[in-house]
């Protein structure tokens, strides 16, 4: 299902996003010698403070002038200048494509907005459309268009394989940063392992839960052939009112389970209704998630 880039992110909204500042302090580790100063001390050009010398400090940073005046060894500290890293993980499994890919559309629009903010603020944005995509990394503002084209070219297919996809998207040696997972989280507990993996790798993880209210609805009184859209498995069942209500409750419980899992892993969790306006949802999510300052 081909999309146009403007469907994901229009110019007006992009200009509004440019006013947002990516909160680099959330980044625990990005590429060194970047364009954004961080609170982390390191090798940079911006003086930050003095401190007493301890054994092991690099003697090159000893302020010999101060030693002469104070007769004490002081070491100068500089603020580290790092390139922030943003990992956008978009679930494009078949369940996201139900009902004319409504959830996938909403997820892509959110991913486009978040990624655009990152690129505007010189972050390295890696966009992984799982399953099946390790994801290219976009590093400059000028790559927004390519970033959007990458998103627009995707379509829903296959089963969501969280952990393998996340492992593939975070190869060893790549720096960590902010990870934003956009998914409907319709799986059987695998997403918890995947989020735990991200947290273990050091990512500040955000989980954006795409919710389509129609997923919990079924019309009672009919003999239904229930087909799993991802696995193709089938179940014939006559659905009465009681069973329909139980299913609705089970879906709601699944959503709560996802939320509890995220909170237990200190993963920012936000539920996004596919009917919500994407602009307001993006701004709200970025602020609530403190990704922008």
């Amino acid at each position: 299902m081909a999309r146009r880039r403007s469907e994901l992110l229009d110019v007006e909204f992009l200009s509004r996003l440019e006013r947002l500042e990516l909160n680099v302090r959330k980044l625990s580790a990005g590429d060194r010698r970047g364009e954004v100063a961080t609170r982390r001390r390191g090798v940079g050009t911006l003086f930050r403070d003095y401190r007493a010398y301890v054994v092991g400090d690099d003697p090159r940073f000893i302020d010999w002038n101060a030693y002469l005046r104070l007769d004490d060894l002081q070491v100068k500290e500089f603020e580290a200048e790092e390139t922030p890293r943003l990992l956008v993980l978009v679930d494009r499994s078949a369940s996201m494509g139900l009902r004319e890919e409504a959830k996938l559309d909403q997820a892509l629009r959110l991913a486009a907005a978040i990624g655009a903010v990152g690129l505007i603020r010189h972050a390295a944005v890696t966009c992984t459309l799982f399953p099946g995509d390790e994801g290219p990394t976009f590093r400059s503002r000028g790559s927004i268009l390519r970033f959007l084209e990458h998103l627009a070219a995707t379509e829903a297919r296959g089963a969501a394989r969280f952990l393998p996809s996340f492992q593939a998207a975070t190869p060893p040696g790549r720096g960590v940063g902010i990870a934003v997972v956009l998914s409907d989280f319709f799986d059987t507990g695998q997403h918890a392992a995947a989020l735990r993996f991200l947290r273990h790798k050091g990512y500040v993880t955000h989980a954006l839960h795409l919710v389509d209210p129609r997923d919990g609805r079924v019309r009672p009184g009919e003999l239904l052939e229930l087909v799993d859209v991802e696995t193709g498995r089938m179940l014939r069942q006559r659905v009465d009112r009681k069973l329909a209500a139980a299913y609705r409750g089970a879906v709601a419980e699944h959503f709560r389970t996802v939320e509890r899992t995220c909170r237990s892993l200190q993963v920012f969790y936000a539920r996004v209704d596919i009917e919500d306006p994407v602009e307001r949802a993006v701004v709200d999510l970025l602020r609530r998630g403190a990704m922008v300052g």
Binding site: S95, D215, L226, V227
Partner: protein, 600 residues
């Protein structure tokens, strides 16, 4: 080579038209709607939770099923069975009373034979439901109508046209039927009447069920008639109200007497009863067949009369010629001085206007203004004058037809009666008509001379009848009793030269009478009436009546019962198949629990 296929019931091939129905049902059947769901395990989880609530019940059921399977398998090895008594099927013989007595009517006037047939139909249906049945009529023995069959329609058809009831109710034949058909069958006799007492025990011993049908009204009938020359002693049996026994001649009642059922009565046979009177019990009851007894009286010989008169008697002569009772050729007349030596040659001597000085010789006399010294009636010829009747015994046969108001008497001698004289008409000058008997003489006295100059008596139409009655009365004193009344269906013994063929009054011959098995005679017909044993004028006449006929109604039964069941027999029923079904069902259910529903 394909052999040609034939069908025992090719009509079932029409059922192949049901094939399109299967196709239509397949096309229009409701199908499951296909729905894509994001995550099927959620559905499975929901279903699993819903099923898990009943899982403990299924587990408990599974345990019970396993116990049942084990127990059933053990029981199967023991070969269980039950014994219970069932009503066995057998053969039923329904004997329907079609004897003469079922002509009797009930209180509504409907013949009880209708009720008997209706009851028989019910029994036929009952009997057919529990085996085969036969149908027989109780009619001069037991007559088979339908032999053993299970077809109730066939049995019922035999009851549609059973013929007229007739013949005797032969309970002995019913007892004999038991011997013939054996003890395994049951016999039911449908009748309104109780068996005769001597058969009650025998029927009970033979296990014959007597089923009551109908309720005949109380009735009585003549069972015996003993004849003599003057009358008949009649025995009336049965019940009901008191009746009258009426003697009828050509339909006219000429004598009657009250009778109580269950008693005997004597009725006189008057001289004018004629040769073929009939005794009738009146009024009619529910079974009138045995209320009529035809009688046969002997033909009287024409009477030879000796007229004794010294003067011409034109009125008497004219009557003699017209009378059917006078043997004109054998009669004669003589003078009063010569009649004594001829009296014995004539039946009756008529003395006309003659006063004898000597006693009359033995004989029978009609005295017309005459007299004799030894008779209980005497006349004073010196006192002659008019007279008129003042007292009359109107029922006496001599004067029954006489109209006394038209009898005018101008000259008659004064008459005096003495002991032994039976006065019939008494007049103002003494007895006018009387009868009397001395040792050797029987006479009828008419005080008036038969001359129109003396009275109107010769002019009256009843005078010849009075004279005829007087002659017949005097002659009948010595007549014979006549043949006895024979019982219908009874035995007739023939005299030498007679053939066993009866002729009716119209001259029609009946079928030849059947000879009795013991050779003692021939069986009389069942229909009452008078018959001639030959077609000649001098052939013997017999009277046949329903006298104590074996088929006449008896006392009604007091109990009404339906068919008793056949003796129960013990049946052993194996429970193996039932247990096998239980075992198969339990195994199937257990398999379903394990493989389809799942058990903890």
């Amino acid at each position: 080579m394909i052999p040609e296929i034939q069908f025992t019931d090719p009509a079932w091939l029409d059922a192949l038209w049901g094939l399109p129905v299967i196709v239509v049902l397949y096309v229009i059947r409701r199908r499951a709607a296909r729905v894509l769901v994001p995550h099927l395990p959620i559905w499975e989880g929901v279903l699993e939770r819903m099923r898990s609530r009943r899982r403990w019940m299924r587990t408990l059921l599974s345990i019970l099923l396993q116990l049942a399977i084990f127990t059933t398998a053990i029981l199967l090895l023991t070969g269980p069975y039950t014994e219970h008594d069932v009503e066995s099927e057998g053969h039923t013989v329904i004997v329907v009373d079609r004897s003469l007595g079922v002509r009797a009517r009930n209180a509504d006037g409907v013949p009880v034979s209708e009720a008997v047939l209706a009851q028989a139909r019910e029994l036929v249906v009952q009997a057919s439901a529990s085996g085969s049945a036969s149908l027989a009529f109780l009619q001069d023995g037991v007559r088979a109508r339908v032999t053993a069959t299970n077809d109730a329609e066939n049995l019922l058809a035999a009851l549609e046209d059973p013929g007229a009831p007739r013949g005797r109710r032969d309970w002995g034949a019913v007892v004999g039927l038991r011997v013939a058909i054996g003890p395994a069958s049951r016999i039911a006799v449908v009748t309104p009447f109780a068996p005769r007492p001597e058969f009650e025990d025998r029927l009970r011993d033979a296990q014959v069920l007597v089923v009551r049908a109908g309720n005949p009204a109380p009735q009585a009938g003549v069972v015996r008639v003993l004849r003599d020359a003057d009358g008949a002693k009649v025995s009336v049996a049965g019940g009901g109200p008191d009746r009258r026994l009426v003697l009828r001649r050509d339909g006219d009642a000429i004598a009657d007497v009250a009778v109580k059922p269950g008693s005997d009565v004597w009725i006189a046979l008057p001289a004018d009863a004629g040769p073929s009177p009939e005794l009738v019990l009146e009024p009619e009851d529910g079974f009138p067949d045995d209320d009529r007894v035809p009688l046969v009286l002997p033909e009287r010989q024409r009477i030879r009369v000796l007229v004794v008169s010294d003067t011409p008697t034109p009125w008497l002569d004219a009557w003699f010629k017209a009378s059917v009772v006078i043997d004109v050729a054998g009669s004669s007349r003589t003078r009063s001085s010569q009649f004594r030596e001829w009296v014995d040659d004539y039946d009756v001597t008529i003395l006309v206007d003659d006063q004898q000085e000597l006693p009359l010789p033995p004989g029978r006399y009609v005295l017309l203004g005459s007299g004799a010294p030894d008779l209980p009636v005497s006349r004073d010829l010196r006192r002659i004058g008019p007279s008129e009747p003042i007292n009359t015994r109107r029922e006496d046969p001599l004067v029954r037809a006489l109209d006394l108001s038209r009898w005018q008497i101008t000259k008659v001698a004064r008459t005096r009666a003495r002991d032994g004289l039976e006065v019939i008409v008494d007049g103002s000058t003494g007895p006018l008509v009387s009868r009397g008997t001395t040792d050797d003489v029987r006479f009828v006295d008419i005080a008036v001379r038969p001359e129109p100059a003396d009275s109107t008596l010769p002019l009256l139409a009843a005078f010849p009848l009075m004279l005829e009655a007087a002659l017949v009365e005097l002659v009948a004193l010595e007549r014979e009793a006549g043949p006895p009344v024979l019982a219908a269906g009874g035995t007739l013994a023939l005299l030498p030269g007679e053939e066993p063929i009866l002729f009716t009054a119209s001259g029609a011959a009946l079928p030849r009478l059947a000879s009795l098995p013991d050779g003692t005679g021939f069986r009389l017909p069942e229909r009452p009436g008078r018959y001639w044993l030959g077609d000649t004028d001098d052939a013997r006449r017999i009277a046949v009546a329903l006298l104590d006929h074996p088929g006449r109604p008896a006392a009604p039964l007091t109990v009404q019962r339906s068919l008793p069941p056949f003796p129960e027999r013990s049946v052993r029923v194996s429970l193996r198949w039932a247990l096998l079904w239980v075992l198969a069902g339990a195994l199937a259910l257990e398999w379903w629990l394990w493989n389809v529903r799942g058990v903890d």
